[in-house]
Structure formats: C-alpha cells, structure tokens
C-alpha cells in the first residue's frame, strides 16, 4: 500500500539529542522542542506549546514507563510532520502516578490533526517492542538511537 505524506519521515540525526541534562520536566520538553526546531519540523516556539499542553492537562503525555510523548496541536509553530528524540542522563519526574521517572522524551510535530494516524501507527510498531525504551535510554551514540527509531516494522 502506498503511504501518503502524512507518514513520519525517517528520524534525522539533527532531531536526536543523547545524554542531555534536564533539571525539570519543562527543561526536558524544551530540549525536545529544540531538537524539533533544529530538524526543521517546528519553530522554536513549539516548545512552549508542548509545555502548555502538560500544564493544562497534566502529565498524561508520559504514556509508558520512562517515556514521554510531548506534543501539541497543529498551528503556526508546526512546519511539517516530525519526531525528535531526547535521552536524559538523569531521569526526570513529570508527576505521573505510574510511569515516572522519564528517561526518554519524544517530541511530536504534526501539521494536520487528521493526517497523523498512520504516522502514529509506525510509532506504535517501534514501541510495542518493550525493549525500545531501554535501548533508547541506554544509547551512547546517535546511530544507536536511529537504529531503534528507523526500524521498519512493515518488514517484520
């Protein structure tokens, strides 16, 4: 089946930050925003939008043990669909009842609310393998992160 342009492009090196330090969850989300901006998926102001979603709705973005999926609605800050990966040297608490502390922060930029489901299915293919989060958290090189994230679940 042909995939449309809504699918997340392969994760570029520029969207990966490994071994980062963040004192608070806000710092951690901001690092993910920085990585999205660096790769051209969003403007620098997108970090503020992602922080605001958590301020408004709470730490529900911590969707699995050790993993936060920071995101916000499509808007002027979202330039194209893209993902960023930030791994933290010291885990950070987001205030989630079950899944804290967070070691890996993903940032997600999507340009249209209805066009991202297929891209998300790719993300589920990666993380439904329970080893993906520890492998990312322990990655020492960007290539190790890319090997986890650019795995093509369709060939399995």
């Amino acid at each position: 089946m042909l995939k449309d342009s809504s699918v997340l492009p392969p994760l570029p090196e520029s969207a990966v930050t490994i071994g980062a330090s963040a004192a608070t969850w806000r710092d951690a989300v901001r690092l993910a925003g920085d990585a999205l901006a660096r790769s051209g998926a969003a403007t620098p102001a997108f970090a503020d939008e992602m922080i605001r979603v958590i301020e408004e709705f709470g730490p529900y973005v911590v969707i699995a043990p050790g993993l936060a999926l920071a995101h916000a609605r499509p808007g002027p800050e979202t330039l194209r669909n893209g993902l960023a990966v930030v791994t933290l040297v010291e885990p950070v608490a987001f205030g989630h009842a079950h899944n804290d502390p967070v070691r890996v922060v993903l940032g997600l930029s999507v340009t249209h609310a209805n066009s991202h489901i297929e891209a998300i299915a790719d993300l589920a293919n990666i993380f439904n393998d329970a080893s993906a989060i520890p492998r990312l958290a322990e990655a020492r090189t960007i290539d190790e992160v890319l090997a986890v994230m650019n795995w093509d679940g369709d060939t399995a």
Binding site: V53, F57, A64, H71, V110, A130
Partner: protein, 90 residues
C-alpha cells in the same frame, strides 16, 4: 460498538491508544469502531460510546459519562489494553 480514545490535544497520545486498541481488539476477535479525540470534545464524541480509553491523569477532565472509562497506564502494552477492554466489554 464504539470506543473513544481521549487525550489532551487530540494528537499523538490518543492516536497511539486508538492504534493499539484496534490491535488489542483484533486479538480478542471483537469488532469495534475506535475514534481518537481530545478532552474538550469528549462530551460530543463519547455520547454514544460504550468505552472511553484514557490516561489516569485525564479521568477527572472527562467527568460524568455513561460509558465505561478504562484507564490505561502503558499505552504500548497490548496485553494491558486487551485485558482491560475484555473486562469492560464483559
């Protein structure tokens, strides 16, 4: 049967929940329509839903509903999602 997956922004986490709920339902052999939506539109979208899937943090925002509210801790754990859906759907 209608199931609604809810997150704060209606982007990202609710879509993961939708995709994995569909996979869990397929394992269980249950047919259902799964929709992703944001917390603000839950009253409209979930009016005729049997089940609302969401995060522990969003239960209070969802408020009163006739649907079963099923709280998922690990959005990537298909066994957790399948077990909780099976309980909710009886």
């Amino acid at each position: 049967m209608k199931i609604v997956a809810i997150c704060g922004a209606g982007i990202g986490t609710s879509a993961i929940l939708k995709v994995n709920a569909e996979r869990a339902l397929k394992r269980l052999g249950i047919e259902a329509d799964v929709t992703a939506a944001d917390a603000a539109s839950v009253r409209d979208v979930a009016e005729d839903a049997q089940v609302i899937l969401t995060s522990p943090e969003l239960v209070d925002i969802i408020g009163k509903t006739y649907a079963d509210v099923v709280v998922i801790q690990n959005y990537f754990d298909l066994e957790e999602i399948a077990a909780k859906l099976l309980t909710a759907l009886g």
